[in-house]
Structure formats: structure tokens, C-alpha cells
């Protein structure tokens, strides 16, 4: 179990690295912008507005790869203005984990529940003519409702006088903690690329800060669906997703008139 956790951690680090690399390449390619804007200026380009819905690919993949984890997430956004989107994520996750000391399990618990994340994304990427890719900065308010099952626990005891073989089992009967909930704010950094017409692949990394956390008596919310690991001493959490989505165009609207080159500040 520990190994699997490390694997996820390793994977997420790996993703973050790729992600930062991608941002860098986007960043460099953006330098051409000012040269192009003059030519685009005269063409009236109709931009598509509509609803984009999709699924997160990472959660089903992890469900397949990792024992004790199942999850899925539906993502969606609606284009409000030229660069502002209302965004939502809906998900459900269940995860069984344990904490152990020197190969012996101290306790095992299962967390399961659903979450909703609602907020906005702002596109900061200036597309070349006809393209509609995005680098977004966004925020979410998220709420998760879940339950925790303490599947078993042993008493932590560093003294081996009465129990030379290991920790004394406290209980192997499941103890359920129901009606738990948590809310948090997320800072989202996203990337979406149109790979085929109206089909997008995207990824995002999230930095979350817990606002409210309704904790059980004599246990703690160690992991929250949608938020991930809760650490003892901080309120911060991290997450990511990889989305595949379909854009449903509803109407078209002309792009705002470009600024004249000499007014360009960037």
C-alpha cells in the first residue's frame, strides 16, 4: 500500500514536471504574438461560444492501476466572455489506505464520497488565428460530502514488554464515521488543447486550501474526496486531472477588435 502511494506521488510529480515543461513551450511560442496581431487585425473572426463537457482520464486510470481506489470526475465549462469560463467538476471517489510502522499496519481506513467544484477559469493564452487553445488560471469553491470507515486499528506502543510480536489489535470491526463534509478553495492552473475539431484534451493542477472540515470524534479526515491527502500541520492540498472533453458550440460571436499595434503594452 505504501508502495502504491509512493507511485501516485511519483506519478503526480512526473505530471507536474511535464506540465511545467509544456507551460514553458507555450510561453516561448507566445513571443511571436505582437508580430501577428497586425495581420489578424483586419479579419473579422467569429469565435465559438458554448458548453464543453468531458471526463477526467486520470481517475479511471488510477482506479484500474491501484488497488483500493475507484474514482471518476465529470468536467464542464461554459464560455461566458472572450476569455472567461464558468467551470465545474463533479466527482466521486473511494479510497482505502493504511498507515503502517515498520511493515506492520497501524490502521486501515476507507474514505468514500462525492464532491462538487464550482468556479471560473480565465484564459491567459493568446491564440494564433483560428486556434482555440487555453492556458487558464482559475479558482474554485469546492464542497465534499463523504464518510469514513475505520476498518481496523492497532494501538501504537513502542514498548514490547507485554506484546513482543507487535502492536496489540484494538479492533478489526469496521467503525463508521458518517455525514462528514469539507469545503475548500482551489487555485487552478489549466491547459486545454483542441486536438480534433471540438475535441479537447486538457490537464490541470490544483492547489487547495481547506476552509471547513467537519471531523469525526476520535478520528480525523485524513483524506477527502476531491481534495486528496490532508496533512496534520497544514491546510493545503494538491490535486490534478487530465480531461478529455467535447465542445458543444451554441453560438458565434465576433472577437473584440484588436488593439492597434502602437497601443500594445505587452
Amino acid at each position: 500500500m505504501k508502495m502504491l502511494n509512493d507511485q501516485i506521488l511519483f506519478m503526480s510529480r512526473y505530471f507536474i514536471n511535464i506540465f511545467s515543461l509544456l507551460i514553458l513551450t507555450f510561453g516561448f511560442s507566445q513571443e511571436d504574438d505582437s508580430a501577428d496581431s497586425q495581420t489578424i487585425d483586419s479579419i473579422k473572426y467569429q469565435q465559438k461560444y458554448g458548453l464543453r463537457v468531458g471526463i477526467d482520464l486520470s481517475r479511471p486510470t488510477l482506479s484500474f492501476l491501484i488497488d483500493g481506489y475507484t474514482g471518476f470526475e465529470i468536467v464542464g465549462d461554459y464560455r461566458l466572455t472572450e476569455d472567461l469560463y464558468i467551470a465545474v467538476e463533479l466527482g466521486n471517489e473511494e479510497k482505502t489506505q493504511d498507515e503502517d510502522v515498520e511493515q506492520s499496519v497501524l490502521y486501515e481506513y476507507t474514505t468514500s464520497g462525492s464532491y462538487i467544484k464550482l468556479g471560473v477559469d480565465k484564459n491567459t493564452y493568446q491564440n494564433w488565428f483560428g486556434m482555440s487553445n487555453q492556458i487558464t488560471i482559475g479558482g474554485r469553491y469546492a464542497f465534499s460530502s463523504f464518510s469514513q470507515n475505520l476498518n481496523n486499528f492497532s494501538y501504537f506502543d513502542s514498548n514490547r514488554f507485554f506484546s513482543p510480536d507487535g502492536f496489540v489489535l484494538g479492533s478489526d470491526e469496521s467503525i463508521e464515521f458518517e455525514n462528514l463534509n469539507a469545503s475548500w478553495l482551489e487555485f487552478v492552473l489549466g491547459l486545454k488543447a483542441e486536438v480534433v475539431s471540438n475535441i479537447y484534451v486538457g490537464m490541470s493542477v490544483r492547489l487547495a486550501h481547506l476552509l471547513g472540515n467537519n471531523e469525526p470524534d476520535n478520528f480525523r479526515n485524513l483524506w477527502i474526496p476531491g481534495f486528496n491527502k490532508v496533512t496534520d500541520e497544514s491546510k493545503w492540498g494538491v490535486g490534478f486531472n487530465y480531461s478529455l472533453s467535447y465542445f458543444l458550440p451554441l453560438y458565434k460571436k465576433a472577437k473584440k477588435k484588436q488593439k492597434k499595434p502602437n497601443e500594445e503594452t505587452e
Binding site: 506521488l9 503526480s12 510529480r13 507536474i16 514536471n17 506540465f19 511545467s20 507551460i23 514553458l24 507555450f26 510561453g27 507566445q30 513571443e31 498507515e99 510502522v101 497501524l106 490502521y107 491567459t124 492556458i135 488560471i137 486499528f153 492497532s154 494501538y155 501504537f156 506502543d157 513502542s158 514498548n159 514488554f161 507485554f162 506484546s163 496489540v168 489489535l169 484494538g170 479492533s171 487555485f187 492552473l189 493542477v205 490544483r206 492547489l207 476520535n218 478520528f219 480525523r220 485524513l222 496533512t231 496534520d232 500541520e233 497544514s234 493545503w236 494538491v238 505587452e266
Partner: protein, 177 residues
Amino acid sequence: MKRIFPVLLIAVIVSYFSSCEKDDICVEGDTPFLVIGFYDAASEEEEDVFKSVPSLRIRAIDNDSIYSKTTAPVFTDRSTVSDSVLVPLRIDASTTTFEFIINSDDNDEDIETGTIDSLTFSYSVDSEYISRACGFIPNFNALDTTRQVYTTDWIKRISIVNENVERSNTIHVKIFH
């Protein structure tokens, strides 16, 4: 490029936070010990006065073992205890029985020559969640003690001053001798 800067900054912050893995070692708590203080039964003072116990041996009946501990809290077998001693309680049972042997020594035939007094502690075991790394520790509550009384006993009187053995090292049981 200016616009990319905050984006990069966030990416760095995210990777920084995701590498925080501090809470893997349990330092916040451990199974508590029963703290027994040894006091002078003859003292007329208002406050109880400590009285040392020469060559104390503690033998646990349940696992028929002589108690000693080389790490904190240290207890050396047949050492002189000046004020108090910390002993473990069984988590998997609601009683623990010890023989407290004063002036403990063996004669030529390996027979104990000290004075033996047997004490049984009874309690209830409750769990307390400490932290991610420590998980649960037991608390021993409703502490009580029973003993067989003989005329040869070195213990004159016992009083329980704190019937909850939790995460503190204050004295729970006073033994007067």
C-alpha cells in the same frame, strides 16, 4: 512572457507543496505508563513524603517476566527507586498483575529472599486518536487496584490519586510503605 510568470510561479508552488511528506514518524504520543510513587507510611507530615525502595524487582505475573527497560523511561532490575516507577499495563486485558519485591536478592539456591507483595491493577481500555503517524493509543481509565494482604507485606497502604492513565507522567498510584 510577463503573463507566463505567475503561471510558472504557481507550478513551482504546487510541486513544492506536493513534496511535503513530514508526518510519517510518530512523535506525538505513545501508550502511557502507569506511574507509581513510593511514599513513607510513617510520616506525620501534612504532605506525603517520598520513601525510597531498595533493590526493587517488578515481576509481571501475566507473562512471567521480570520488568526492565533500557530506553526511556528507564528501569533497571533490582535498583533502588527513590521516588517513583513507570510500569506498562496490558492493552489486551483489563487487568495486569505485578509482584513488587523489595530488597530483592537471590540466595545460594537461587531463591528470592526479598519481600514479595502482589498487586493487581484493573482498568478499562479506551482508544484515543493521536495523529496520522501514531494512530491510536490506549487510555487506561477507571483504574482500581486489589491486593492480597498478608502480615509480611511491605506495602502498608495504597491510594489511587488519578484513575485515568493518559498522556501524562503524573503519579497515578501512591504506595505507602
